[in-house]
């Protein structure tokens, strides 16, 4: 054991002469992809909007200004600077609802990714290290989950659990989890054949240490990319569930739910439909741009030497 840990410890002079820090190297590759950097800034912008929503929003998201229903955005005839993006059929300020909606999207993305990734990485690690029969059982179960279209499975799960934002998040996490299991397992399988794992084993590392300290850190690159992709998937799917009435319930200013409420007004008031969807598209696009950049920066196969 002692041998292994001392060989990975480098003296300060070594570190200075060796390659730049991991993060620096990552950032150098990430910065080369202009789209990824733009996506990153847009993501930060939406994140700040979400964090400071109560300060930024001019109104409470549920305040109904009954005298000002379906006011168009400010640049159209009849628009008013009090409601820059107009109001919905109940006289609620669109801008305020959109700003508060950002909170739900980030909540959804974060919770779903944490749930799906934790469960998926654990299961994948177990499958990778387990004897063949257990591995087969786990992977068959994942095949079953993957054979049902994700949105359909999520819909049925929500129908069982009852429609709410929390249940929608749980359902989407269950649906997204098999991807993590497959990725982690595949990465573990490749790592297990390598010499450093054998040497750690010879040095007497116990199974938990082998799993979490020796192997897992070396499997993280594809998992991080997957996390970015499933963050955007989670936002899209939860919005879709909200749109079908199976996610967040009105009057929650969740973007998908807002779209569902606005559906009957599409031909009379384009703004109640356009803005929530645009917000979803922008957020998802920003995250996908970042995800592409992450993949280029982290995937050693695509890395230019």
């Amino acid at each position: 054991m002692a041998d292994v840990s001392s060989s990975t410890n480098t003296t300060p002079t070594d570190a200075a002469m060796a390659r730049p820090g991991r993060f620096k190297e990552f950032w150098r590759y990430f910065r080369e992809n202009r789209g990824a950097v733009i996506g990153f800034y847009v993501f930060i912008f939406f994140l700040l909007v979400a964090i400071f929503a109560p300060i930024l929003a001019p109104f409470e998201p549920s305040t109904q200004n009954r005298d000002f229903t379906l006011i168009p955005p400010v640049w159209q005839d009849g628009g008013d600077w009090t409601f820059p993006l107009g109001t919905d059929p109940l006289g609620r300020d669109m801008l305020s609802r959109l700003i508060h909606g950002a909170r739900y999207s980030f909540l959804v993305g974060t919770v779903v990714v944490i749930l799906a990734a934790t469960g998926g990485i654990l299961t994948g690690l177990i499958a990778g290290f387990a004897p063949k029969w257990l591995d087969t059982i786990i992977m068959r179960i994942m095949d079953i989950i993957l054979s049902i279209p994700s949105l359909l499975l999520a819909l049925v799960l929500v129908a069982i659990l009852g429609p709410s934002l929390l249940n929608a998040m749980i359902a989407i996490a269950i649906v997204l989890q098999p991807h993590y299991v497959r990725l982690t397992r595949a990465a573990v399988m490749t790592e297990l054949t390598k010499d450093y794992v054998v040497s750690a084993r010879v040095a007497g590392a116990k199974l938990p240490r082998l799993m979490f300290v020796t192997v897992l850190p070396n499997c993280l690159a594809p998992i991080i990319v997957q996390a970015a992709l499933s963050f955007s998937n989670a936002i899209l799917d939860v919005a879709a569930l909200g749109f079908l009435g199976m996610g967040a319930q009105p009057p929650t200013p969740e973007w998908g739910t807002m779209l569902a409420e606005a559906r009957e007004f599409i031909l009379r008031a384009w703004w109640v439909v356009t803005f929530p969807g645009l917000a979803i598209l922008m957020t998802v696009l920003a995250i996908n741009l970042m995800g592409d950049g992450l993949r280029d920066a982290l995937d050693p196969k695509l890395k230019r030497s």
């Binding site: 179960i141 054979s147 279209p149 879709a240 779209l259 031909l267 356009t274 696009l285």
Partner: protein, 335 residues
């Protein structure tokens, strides 16, 4: 090849049984008593409840119930809808052609636009065309398609009045469903304007459903082409003085197609998930809308049977894709 086929079929069996277990378990854990739901607003007397309880076999051990269900499934008996009182199997097959027609049109649209887009982008790597096409592909890939559908309705149905908002054909046309495909049936009927009406109903839902597969296919084609274009035999073909069109279109594209075919096959699950949203928005009478409606109505046998059939469909297509892949690429089946 036979060994590969058999081993692939062997993994198919446990997955199928697993899907049966899942779809069976759902009806047992769903909230609400199925008998109360079935009785509807009139309610049900105590004795009648008991009678029905036994009639549906809810009093028997769960393993026996599952065995009955499973043997029923193998014989094509998926139960009866609470709402319409028709067998789930019949309902599925009367609605399936609508979804199939929509999906085929969508995937054709995605292939016919996506592959050329990917090839053009790869050949012009880093130039304006590449950037424009790949940016649009990323936007398409990130698109919330339910919103995209509403936008198209606002523009093409609302402002321009070109397309209808819902259904498969105008109500004034009436003819027998010979094939179940509206485009073919309307042509066969020989009625004036029926075919045009069917096309106008189909076009927006098909565009919406095609959006994400189109983006995925374009991206996949580009990366597969880029990989192939770096190969030696492409340089040889160029050195021989072949026309660029021939090098890119024949030598490169043919070899780049293998991963693309896989993506096309695997997009069936994507299409069915997209059909849920698309059919709901456009009131398209297919499997997706049927499933959503029965979830709203708590029509459990339909949810159960529909889930099973959709999963089976995806599994069969994935199996076919795998087999086709083994046929094209001998390396795979040796493993």
């Amino acid at each position: 090849m036979l060994r590969y086929l058999l081993s692939r079929l062997l993994t198919f069996v446990p997955t199928f049984i697993g899907v049966c277990i899942i779809s069976f378990a759902f009806i047992r854990v769903l909230p609400g008593d199925p008998i109360i739901v079935m009785a509807g607003e009139r309610g049900v007397s105590e004795e009648r409840y008991q009678e029905l309880y036994e009639q549906f076999g809810f009093d028997r051990p769960i393993v026996v119930q599952f065995w009955d269900y499973f043997t029923g499934v193998l014989q094509g008996d998926l139960g009866t809808s609470y709402v319409t009182k028709r067998p789930v199997w019949d309902e599925f097959f009367s609605l399936f052609p609508a979804t199939l027609e929509l999906s085929i049109c969508a995937i054709l649209l995605a292939i016919l636009l996506g592959i050329p887009a990917g090839v053009i982008a790869a050949v012009n790597r880093g130039k304006f065309f590449d950037r424009a096409l790949m940016s649009s592909a990323l936007v398409g890939y990130s698109m919330p398609i339910f919103w995209w559908a509403l936008l198209l309705i606002i523009v093409f149905s609302g402002n321009l009045g070109w397309t209808p908002v819902s259904g498969r054909i105008d109500l004034l046309y009436f003819f027998d469903a010979k094939t179940g495909f509206m485009l073919i049936d309307s042509l066969l009927s020989g009625q004036d304007g029926a075919f045009q009406s069917a096309v106008r109903h189909l076009i927006l839902p098909a565009i919406v459903l095609a959006t994400i597969p189109l983006a995925v296919i374009a991206r996949q084609t580009r990366s597969a082409m880029l990989e192939v274009l770096g190969e030696d035999y492409i340089r040889t073909a160029r050195a021989k003085g072949l026309a660029p069109m021939r090098v890119n279109g024949v030598h490169a594209l043919r070899n780049a197609m293998i991963p693309v075919i896989t993506v096309v096959g695997l997009s069936v699950g994507m299409l069915l998930a997209g059909a849920i949203l698309t059919e709901t928005i456009f009131s398209w009478p297919g499997i997706g809308k049927w499933m959503v409606d029965s979830i709203y109505r708590r029509d459990y046998p339909v949810v159960q049977g529909g889930l099973l059939l959709v999963a089976l469909l995806v599994m069969v297509v994935n199996l076919l894709v795998d087999l086709a892949y083994g046929l094209i690429n001998p390396k795979i089946r040796k493993r």
